[in-house]
Structure formats: structure tokens, C-alpha cells
């Protein structure tokens, strides 16, 4: 049977195959030879060939999702995930499997060079399975990348909504960047938690860093203000730029129940007034 030939050949000439594969693979990596130690790569590749031969002997060649291929899939997934994190390009990662294909085909050519029929048959079979594995590497690679992006997004969410204590009982929340419903939720939760933990009566929401205010953003702001009021804290909106003030009025958004100020300084002054505090100059500056 065709498939047995290749696998038997792979098992017999493992060392030769391994040597050839690693040479080809290293040649395909343009810059990053230094990152993975040769020794490491050698060990990894040997494990992979062992697992591959073992899986191919006991299993259906067509379907790499079967249980017998679990080890092979696991090794590949590990390699692509690592490489994705180390910053390899997608093609450098995928070339790991594709250079194995090249190495095997060269081996087959040497063995069956005189029997073109067998050679073509074997090449086709082995190509099919290795192409599937190659695609799997690529999928794992992009999945690992997506995880990195998702984590960074979460970190940015956390970073972009700091709650600052300006004075005893006065909090400030500078908002920077576009407000969408996901971010508003985080902002609202952070603010309410901050109010509770610092026992603050007044919270200043500064929107100088918010590029545009549309009806949705205005609604989010109103919701945040209402929630803070329910907890017993007053909110002041500051940093309303002229163009934003115009937009709000043109959109017909009613902010009359919310205290607004043009600048953070104005809001701080109002907050101090509300807490019956005042700042006095005690001498010449």
C-alpha cells in the first residue's frame, strides 16, 4: 500500500530526513536563526517525526482531526504559538511544515526515482496530509496572535480609565478616546467603585479628550451621571469644548439636569463650593 511506503521510509531514514529538513528549514528562515537554538529545533523536529510516523501507522491518512493525531497536533500547536509570540512572520512559521514536505519528497525521489508512478502516488498522499498540517499551523498562529491583541485591548481599557482623587471627597475621571458602550461600562463601574471606596460626594467627568460626542455618547454620560446620583454622589461634566457644546445642542441632547463646566479648573471650583471648601492665597507668589 502506498501510504505504508512513505511512512516506512520516514522511519528508516529518520536521521537523514531530519538533517535535510532542518537544513531546508534554517535556509528558509531569513533572520531569526538565533532565536530558536539549533539543539532545541533538532529535538522538537525529532519528536514531531516520531509522532507523525506513529500517528500515520495507526490512523486514517485523510483526517487529521482523529484521536491518533493528537500528539502531532499538540506539538505543532505549541511550535506555532511560541513562534507567534516570539514575533516570527506567518510564512516563517508555516514553512516549518512545508520544508518537511520538501525534505520528504526529496527522499522519495531518491528512493523511487526509477518508478514515476509510485513516486507521484506517494508525493500526492504525503502532500495532502502535510498541507493540512500546514494550514493547522497557520490557524494556531493567528489564534495566538488574536489572543495577544485581545489582551492588549483589555489592558488599554484598564489604562484608559483611571479614577483620580483630587481632594478629600472629590474624584476626577479624565476620559480620553472614543467612548463606546463597552468602554462606558468599564468607566461607569470604575467610577462607582471609586466613589464607594473613597467615600466621595463629588465626581468630575472630564471629556476634553473625547474627540466626538454623539447622541449615544451623551446617553452613556447621562447614564453614568444617573448611576452616581443614585449612589449619592454628584457628577460634574467638564472639558466641554465649543464644537462639542454646539454638537450637543444641535443634536437636541438635554444635559440640563447635569452640572457642566468648560474646564476642569471650573469643575474643581464648583466641586469645592459644593463641599463648602475654598482655596485662599496666603501670601504673594
Amino acid at each position: 500500500m502506498a501510504k505504508v511506503n512513505t511512512i516506512r521510509l520516514m522511519a528508516e531514514k529518520k536521521d537523514e530526513l531530519l538533517q535535510q529538513w532542518i537544513e531546508l528549514h534554517l535556509a528558509s528562515l531569513s533572520l531569526r536563526k538565533d532565536i530558536i537554538g539549533n539543539e532545541n529545533l533538532y529535538r522538537q523536529s525529532r519528536d514531531f517525526i516520531d509522532a507523525f510516523v506513529q500517528a500515520a501507522e495507526g490512523a486514517d491518512f485523510e483526517d487529521i482531526n482523529r484521536v491518533e493525531w493528537t500528539t502531532v497536533r499538540k506539538i505543532l500547536a505549541e511550535i506555532s504559538t511560541n513562534r507567534s509570540r516570539q514575533g516570527y512572520s506567518p510564512s516563517e512559521t508555516a514553512s516549518y511544515v512545508f520544508t518537511l514536505k520538501e525534505a520528504i519528497i526529496r527522499l522519495l525521489q531518491k528512493e523511487y526515482g526509477v518508478q514515476p508512478d509510485v513516486l507521484i502516488q506517494e508525493t500526492l498522499t504525503i502532500s495532502k496530509i502535510l498541507d493540512k498540517l500546514g494550514l493547522l499551523t497557520f490557524e494556531t498562529y493567528s489564534k495566538a496572535r488574536e489572543e495577544v491583541i485581545y489582551r492588549q485591548q483589555q489592558e488599554m481599557l484598564e489604562l484608559s480609565t483611571p479614577v483620580i482623587q483630587l481632594w478629600d471627597g472629590i474624584l476626577a475621571l479624565p476620559l480620553i478616546g472614543t467612548l463606546d458602550s463597552g468602554r462606558t461600562q468599564v468607566v461607569m463601574e470604575n467610577l462607582l467603585r471609586g466613589i464607594l471606596s473613597t467615600n466621595s460626594d463629588v465626581a468630575i467627568l472630564d471629556i476634553s479628550g473625547v474627540p466626538t460626542v454623539d447622541t449615544l455618547v451623551a446617553q452613556h454620560i447621562i447614564k453614568t451621571v444617573s448611576a452616581a446620583r443614585l449612589m449619592g454622589a454628584e457628577c460634574i461634566i467638564s472639558g466641554i469644548r465649543p464644537e462639542i457644546a454646539q454638537t450637543i445642542v444641535q443634536l437636541g441632547v438635554d444635559l440640563s439636569m447635569v452640572k457642566t463646566r468648560a474646564t476642569l479648573a471650573g469643575a474643581l471650583k464648583l466641586a469645592l463650593d459644593m463641599r463648602k471648601l475654598t482655596i485662599v492665597q496666603i501670601g504673594k507668589a
Partner: protein, 131 residues
């Protein structure tokens, strides 16, 4: 049937909700409280919901309702100690308790009631003892 205790403290009535609210309990509270306000001539009502960590639309509306009713009977009503999660839920449900006073905790709520009734702020007990 279980009831939520209402404590009389001078001109004020104090209600602390410490159990999970259900519909019949909140209805009983509304009846008891209005009864107490009328019979005692209370001038201020303080509802402490700091242990309440879940509300549904009905409970939320009833809380607003109780506050409005007692306000109508000439007693200042302040809801204190609402948890962040509860506040967010109430806003999402569209219940913003318009016209009801709120405060962060019981202490601030009492101060608010006193200032509304133009009563002298509570004396510090330690100062009393020194005299």
C-alpha cells in the same frame, strides 16, 4: 409573615433592608412605612439599602414609589448606600429615582436630612462628655 423593622429616631424613621427583597415584603414595607409616617408625624425617612445587592424592575420601582409617597406626606426621604451594581441595574432599567434624595452612607444621609429640616448638626458625643 416577616417584616422589615422600622426604627423611630427623634423626628426620623430609619429603615435598613438586610434581607433579599421580594415583592410581598416590599409591599408590606410600603404599607408599614406610610402608616408610621402618618402616625408619628415623622419629618424625615432614611432608607438604607447598603446590604441590598440585587434589584429587579419591580423592587426598583417600589423603592422609588415608597420614596415618592413619603415625600408626598411631607417627610424628606433619602435613600442611602446603594451598591454600584444596583445603581447600574437601576439606570439600565430606566429607574433614576427623580426627586428622591440620595447619599453615600447613613451618616451623610442623616446630615442631609438635618440640613433639610434646618436642625442643628448632631453634637459630637465626646465633646459632650468633656463639658
Amino acid at each position: 409573615m416577616e417584616r422589615i423593622p422600622i426604627i423611630k429616631m427623634g423626628p426620623f424613621l430609619l429603615v435598613t433592608i438586610q434581607v433579599d427583597m421580594h415583592d410581598r415584603l416590599v409591599m408590606a414595607l410600603q404599607e408599614d412605612l406610610t402608616e408610621m409616617v402618618s402616625s408619628n408625624g415623622a419629618r424625615g425617612v432614611l432608607i438604607n439599602i447598603s446590604s441590598l445587592d440585587m434589584v429587579d424592575s419591580y423592587i426598583g420601582r417600589m423603592l422609588g414609589g415608597i420614596a415618592s409617597i413619603t415625600s408626598l406626606m411631607d417627610a424628606y426621604t433619602v435613600v442611602v448606600g446603594m451598591q454600584p451594581a444596583v445603581a447600574i441595574t437601576m439606570v439600565e432599567l430606566g429607574i433614576s429615582l427623580q426627586g428622591v434624595m440620595t447619599a453615600l452612607n447613613v451618616e451623610k444621609g442623616m446630615d442631609l436630612l438635618r440640613s433639610k429640616l434646618k436642625l442643628a448638626p448632631e453634637q459630637d458625643h465626646e465633646i459632650d462628655r468633656e463639658e
